[in-house]
């Protein structure tokens, strides 16, 4: 029986395991495969994206586990708790920190990411943490259970995890200073109007948002615990009990250093998610595409892409070799109370192609807006960002495939609305604004 070992029980590894089990070893009689999921983080799969809700008290840890504990045995997916120290590809053996080993026939690396640290002085002090692993959450619960123990917190780095951490601390009335390197929140990704609106929304939650601000160092008290931080630009010292480092993530692949598996930022993979070593694959946050498709980045640290890689690799492992060829880009997030969805490509100021033109509409209540990107010469619809209005994935996927033009998309926005019943609709206002703008141009 072929033994598939998957290191990492996040969304990529678990999706892969589930799909391998669907394809092999069903009663239909194919030769079954033995599947082992290895993790040092938790016993059972949980949805990482929900970690914040545990701290906020919306859910318990058990609620974040999509499958009941009997699921794994029933589907013959073996769970192994252990920290992988080393991979020997010659003998197909993995070595655990605890001293034991495991033989594999095929190995999949799905170890995800770890928070970026840029060599700031004091970045490893007590009370300094990322917000990616279950252990980060435990650490936060220890250092910031309430606003008596944690009188002030500082978050370093904009982006999605940063704002989630701000929301988490805010839910316990812990004052937060939020240092963002850019001159507007997440404007490496978001166009100007949206980024500005989110700036205002963050401040409306009484979060001390500092734009164009960098961290110089983190200072320690006599016990090796964080005491304060110093701001690069002004030299200002802000005393704090917790520092959240949320300046992005990098692949979590230190354990592969001494192996023969080729790595750069992440584990280098081809379009088939294969590494340089036969029978070794990598998926999810830790995989680095050597030939990324379309506008996609070499390392996609996104929940959805992790899931999709798992779906594809299951085919390859079960004998139907298949490239990772994702469809139209999409993503979503939530900025405090404002939901965000994106379909297709909409670029911020930086790195925006010359041909990309935007139509932007914002509601007067300052919590809803959309940006539609289109090709300035051909009028082809390229993508949409939407804030505070839910839109239908299926409709935009279709419009992108059909290469609709921007007039069509904005005139037919009604068909794509996914807001709950009785919600106020804004399509007419958007269309009117679009027509006014078209007349001006």
């Amino acid at each position: 029986m072929e033994h598939i070992v998957i290191i990492g029980n996040g969304i990529s590894g678990v999706t892969l395991a589930r799909h391998i089990r669907k394809l092999s070893g069903q009663p239909k009689g194919q030769a079954g495969k033995k599947i082992t999921l290895v993790s040092a983080e938790t016993d059972y799969f949980f949805s990482r994206t929900a970690l914040m809700y545990i701290y906020m008290g919306h859910m318990t840890f058990e609620h974040t586990q999509p499958y009941e504990n009997w699921f794994w045995e029933k589907n013959r997916i073996e769970l192994k708790k252990g920290y992988v120290k080393k991979v020997e590809t010659q003998s197909k053996t993995i070595h655990f920190a605890e001293g034991d080993t495991l033989q594999y026939d095929k190995l999949v690396i799905a170890t995800g990411s770890k928070p970026n640290k840029f060599g700031w002085p004091g970045q490893d002090l007590e009370g300094v943490m990322g917000m990616y692993h279950k252990q980060d959450l435990d650490n936060l619960e220890k250092h910031a259970p309430n606003n008596n123990v944690c009188k002030h917190a500082v978050i370093v780095g904009g982006g999605l995890i940063g704002i989630e951490l701000a929301e988490m601390l805010n839910s316990r009335n812990i004052p937060v200073t939020f240092l963002v390197r850019e001159d507007s929140f997440w404007n490496g990704i978001l166009p100007e109007g949206e980024s500005q609106m989110i700036n205002r929304h963050i401040k409306a939650h009484h979060i001390d948002l500092r734009l164009s601000t960098n961290l110089k160092e983190i200072k320690s008290d006599e016990n090796g615990k964080v005491k304060s931080i110093i701001i690069e630009e002004t030299g200002e010292e802000i005393s704090c009990d917790v520092v959240g480092l949320t300046a992005g993530v990098t692949p979590n692949i230190d354990f592969l250093k001494d192996s023969e598996i080729e790595t750069d930022i992440g584990v280098k993979v081809n379009r088939f998610l294969e590494t340089n070593i036969p029978d070794v694959y990598a998926i999810g946050d830790c995989a680095e595409q050597q030939e990324p498709s379309g506008n996609r980045r070499p390392v996609e640290a996104v929940w959805y892409t992790g899931r999709m890689m798992g779906e594809v690799l299951a085919q390859t492992i079960c004998g139907n070799r298949m490239p990772y060829n994702p469809g139209h880009w999409f993503n979503s997030a939530k900025f405090m109370d404002i939901e965000y969805q994106t379909y297709g490509w909409v670029f911020g100021e930086k790195g925006r192609p010359d041909y990309e033109q935007h139509f932007h509409w914002k509601h007067s209540d300052d919590t809803k807006c959309i940006t539609v990107a289109y090709h300035k010469d051909t009028n082809e619809f390229l993508g949409i960002n939407t804030f505070g209005i839910r839109l239908k994935h299926e409709t935009f996927d279709k419009w992108l495939t059909e290469k609709r033009d921007v007039d069509y998309v904005i005139s037919n926005l009604k068909d794509a609305n996914f807001d709950p019943e009785f919600y106020a609709r804004h399509e007419d206002e958007i269309l009117a604004a679009y027509k006014r703008q078209s007349l001006l141009v």
Binding site: T64, P145, E311, F330
Partner: protein
Amino acid sequence: MNTPKPSMSLTKPEAFDLTTKQRIYVAIGMIGLIILALATFNVTFPYRTIVLSIALLSISIGVVLFANDMYIKKLPGIKNDGVMFKSISSRGLWAWVSGLAFTGFYILLYFKATWLGLGTDGAENTGLVALFDPLSRLLNGGQASQWFVYGTLYTIAILVFGYKFLLKYRHNKYERLRTFSVMFFQLAFAFLIPEFMARLNSDSFSLPYYDLKNIWPLNYYNFEQYRVNSFIEAGDIGLALLIFGILSIFVITPILTFKYGKRWYCSWVCGCGGLAETAGDSFRHLSDKRQFAWKIERWVVHSVVVFVVLMTTAVVYSYLGDDSSKYWLTKNTFLIGVAALLTVVFAWVMIFKREQLAKDAQYGAIGYFVIILVLLAIHFFNGSNLFLFKAETLRQSYGFLIGAIFSGVIGTGFYPIFGNRVWCRFGCPMAAILGFQQRLFSRFRITTNGGQCISCGNCSTYCEMGIDVRAYAQKGENIVRSSCVGCGICSAVCPRGVLKLENDSLKGRINANEILLGNDVDLMDLVNEK
């Protein structure tokens, strides 16, 4: 799985403790409860009108001020912060204390009303019931009963906690409209209209107490002899009400459920649902989401339907005559009618909808159908007693087991332990019948948004009916479940805008994907077409 850790420990995050202001508002509310508790222990108050007003007002004001403090100064949005840490909402000490207190109250209400001060055999009320006499006189002209006390408190609970719900979900128009609706139906239809109708009663004219929105089998007593007699004796109005009661079951309900799903009733109109959605909102995450609970649910709730059908048939049968020359509806025509109706429903499901039912549901349906027909056959061969039991025994057992213990004592008293929809989920025969209609022929479903689900679990956690919504959302599968009451909270709490309650055509209601939108189209075709 899915059980909050009770916060009886000392180390819970203090961040979610009550503030001083909130403590004061709780105290204001407590004044009202203490007055009611003292009255329960037979303290006789002078100036009942004033004391009652103080009690009810202080409860209402306490809740309203508390709600204001919780939500009004925060920006509109999902506000479930600390739910899993607060004692009352995480099966902590306060949850058990209040659960036992509610349960105790229910037991007194149903079985020991005299302890609450109900005057029997024409005697004056004392204690708690007497305290409500002034309000009762104002509304219906007579003195209060224990049910009047209960109805008043029930209505106040829906109104003041409805206000809290409106504030909490003020960003969500669906939730707002729905809450206005349950508040209106409780105040007007369940409380004021029946009281005013009672006022019309005189020596020559009498209608039973009738909450018009309560439909059989939820009001399992609607076709008992005394009620039917009283309807018929009340002339045209009574007959109209009786016909309305029958039409509600066979015509109005199926049409509305076809168009809107069972939510038009369960979470927009029904009183049990109204209390669950308002006063019970703080407990919605406590419902059991395990697959095991789902299996139990399906058997228990459908058994209750079978029980209520048998019981009602027996009761109606017991007072019908044999002589067809006196009245067209005889014992035999009635029984044949019931058997024919059940056969038609059974045959329709088995012929047209069989593939939509799971194996165990099919076996269950066949089993129950056979049991009912056998019981009817026994009657034709043996005569005297229908169904081996006396009709009255059946009715009493149903009233005790289901009407009192299940819907009241456990269903409501145990909100803080089992969640707010235990009764609706496991016990309500009305919900089961509506659910049957919803599952098999409704335009209602909850649709999911392509590949946008992140499996976070907010939807499943906050589903009061214990549906594992996430399991469907992560497969991109429409949610077509008989238990869904369409409260819309899964859609509200979803941080990615993945869920939407929809009425659409019957085509494509039931779908499932192994691979979601966003991936390679060839792969999606390959895997999903199988």
